[in-house]
């Protein structure tokens, strides 16, 4: 098995009486896109900050590509890039200068081709020689992302990277993140846009009140905790729930025209209900299915379903 890109063992962070992280264990595989989800104050940024040198952990260990940060607190940081949650910029410098400085901080000589590549990918090339103070909020966010990526880190943390930015940047970033992952970069993403996690992530970790509640492949998570609503429309209104409807615990609308069946993991597949309805001679004009989204799954888990399911 390959060395994890990031390995946390018993990671805890306490602020006086308050515990922000409770003995978190997590291993992130090289090259994967891992989404860390949870409500505000759940501990996402504290976890990322502990790895990136912004937060002093209280206990536990952190390994980046096998290197323990306690033994070498500086060396592993050559491989790390961080897009922080809060926008920051140094008003004294231009976009290009900021990126050259960033390259230097990571021990890399100036590489104009790399700077052009990152700026182009983030649709910021036209502002290359503009002072950072002259950029709009969305452009400053793009610059933050460019700064985190310009030195080609192997492990990138994106802490709410698309908060408050337009749809165009979000799409640009998603495309670029997929490209990075395809080239072997490991991405750890926190986001409030669950569509983003659903779109990008290979695996999802859900954290709340400093506890990592679960880590699961995205597809498995959606299947395990998600549900599919099958809405069947009849050609003629039904006087009441048929035998097939009762057997599958489906729900008939008040006007008798639609039957709704909620299909969860472990339930009978909706195809069986459809066959039973056909067998009863029901005439069906339309079948619509609606899958749960990540948002529904997250709410389910935060409400306590993981304990029941585990």
């Amino acid at each position: 098995m390959s060395v994890p890109a990031l390995e946390l063992q018993g990671l805890s962070k306490r602020y006086g009486e308050f515990t922000a992280l409770h003995t978190v264990d997590l291993a992130i595989r090289p090259g994967e896109i891992f989404a860390l989800l949870g409500p505000n104050g759940a501990g996402k940024t504290t976890m990322i900050g502990s790895v990136c040198g912004l937060v002093k952990k209280s206990s536990g260990s952190i390994r980046v590509f096998g290197k323990d940060l306690d033994q070498d607190p500086v060396g592993p940081r050559y491989d790390i890039g961080l897009v922080p949650q809060e926008i920051n910029f140094d008003p004294f410098f231009t976009v290009a200068e900021s990126l050259r400085i960033q390259l230097g901080f990571y021990g890399r000589p100036t590489d104009e081709a790399r700077i052009d590549e990152v700026l182009t990918a983030l649709n910021l090339h036209a502002k290359k020689d503009a002072y950072t103070r002259a950029l709009s909020g969305g452009m400053k966010r793009r610059l933050l992302i460019a700064k985190a990526l310009v030195h080609k880190p192997r492990l990138v943390f994106l802490d709410e990277p698309t908060a408050g930015v337009d749809v165009e940047l979000r799409r640009d970033l998603w495309t670029y993140v997929r490209k990075l992952a395809s080239e072997g970069t490991t991405i750890v993403l926190t986001t409030h846009y669950l569509e983003e996690a659903e779109e990008l992530a290979d695996r999802v970790g859900i954290i709340n009140e400093g506890r990592l509640l679960m880590v699961e492949d995205k597809a498995t998570l959606l299947r395990r905790f998600g549900e599919r609503r099958v809405i069947i429309t009849f050609e003629q209104p039904q006087p009441g729930l048929s035998e097939a409807g009762k057997r599958f615990a489906a729900r008939l609308s008040e006007d008798g025209r639609t039957l709704t069946y909620v299909e969860r993991d472990g339930c009978a597949p909706s195809g069986e209900l459809l066959r039973a309805l056909y067998a009863e001679g029901q005439l069906i004009s339309d079948v619509e299915t609606r899958r749960s989204r990540m948002e529904d799954v997250l709410i389910e888990i935060l409400r306590g379903r993981p304990q029941q399911a585990a």
Partner: protein
């Protein structure tokens, strides 16, 4: 050791203050020159000599020191403090820059500004007094080490401070009184008791006197003793700053 990271931070710090030369170089140069004109030219009519030196000549080393100390301190303190306030400290903390690299970058940048202002002050003074450099090595030692010490202290202040008011605490309540009581404009030997004895505990006195020896060849104290005191202050401040940065005190959550 991240040599390129360190050089990049140093170059960034120098470029940062060179982007606003009116504020960082010209303004302090004018202030120090005004001191020279107001105190020096007006007082020299009344006070002919101090410690065997013409008064106008006597105050030049102290004013050069004033320019170095103030600007070295202000550069490292304001630069690091603003970095904390505007959030760009994240760039420094995430990057592979240890305490040594951070110190070299911030202190180096601050030393350059302190020395630029100090040497320009000296250049202005030569218009009034002519050029005098009696012991070049001693002068260089005190110029460089004074700028170093105040750059380190500025960095310490920036780490500690959480508000703008706090960052102004050191220059206003510590540096200014110690500098003005440090023999810039008078000889501490001429102070009445017990202030002449109290002055012996002011490290600025030795820095000014050491520089005076290097530039004018006269000093109240032996340059070796003054130089040793300055060296001890530099070592202590360096060790403390390194330990503070390594601990993450007020830099990391």
């Amino acid at each position: 050791m991240n040599v390129l990271g360190m050089k990049t931070l140093l170059a960034k710090e120098v470029r940062r203050f060179m982007r606003v030369p009116g504020q960082t170089v010209l303004s302090p140069l004018i202030s120090t020159t005004l001191y020279f004109i107001v105190f020096g030219v007006s007082m020299s009519n009344r006070v002919q000599t101090v410690e065997g030196l013409p008064y106008l000549h006597f105050i030049v080393p102290g004013l050069v020191f004033l320019g170095i100390a103030n600007n070295a301190f202000l550069n490292s303190s304001s630069s690091l403090f603003i970095t904390k306030i505007q959030g760009t400290v994240v760039d420094l903390l995430v990057a592979p820059l240890g305490p040594g690299e951070l110190m070299a970058g911030f202190i180096g940048g601050a030393m350059v500004r302190g020395l630029v202002v100090g040497l320009l002050t000296w250049a202005v003074a030569t218009f009034f007094t002519g050029f005098s450099l009696e012991h070049a090595g001693v002068a260089a030692y005190f110029l460089i080490l004074s700028s170093y010490v105040f750059s380190v202290l500025g960095m310490l202040a920036a780490v500690w401070a959480e508000k703008f008011e706090q960052i102004n605490f050191f220059p206003t309540f510590v540096m200014l009184p110690l500098t003005f009581l440090g023999g810039v404009f008078y000889s501490v030997r001429e102070l009445p008791a017990p202030w002449n004895t109290v002055s012996l505990f002011n490290p600025m006195v030795y820095m000014v006197e050491g520089l005076r020896y290097g530039m004018l060849g006269r000093s109240l104290y032996s340059p070796l003793g003054a130089g040793s005191i300055l060296f001890a202050v530099a070592v202590g401040a360096t060790a403390l700053t390194y330990a503070v940065l390594r601990s993450g005190y007020k830099m990391k959550a």
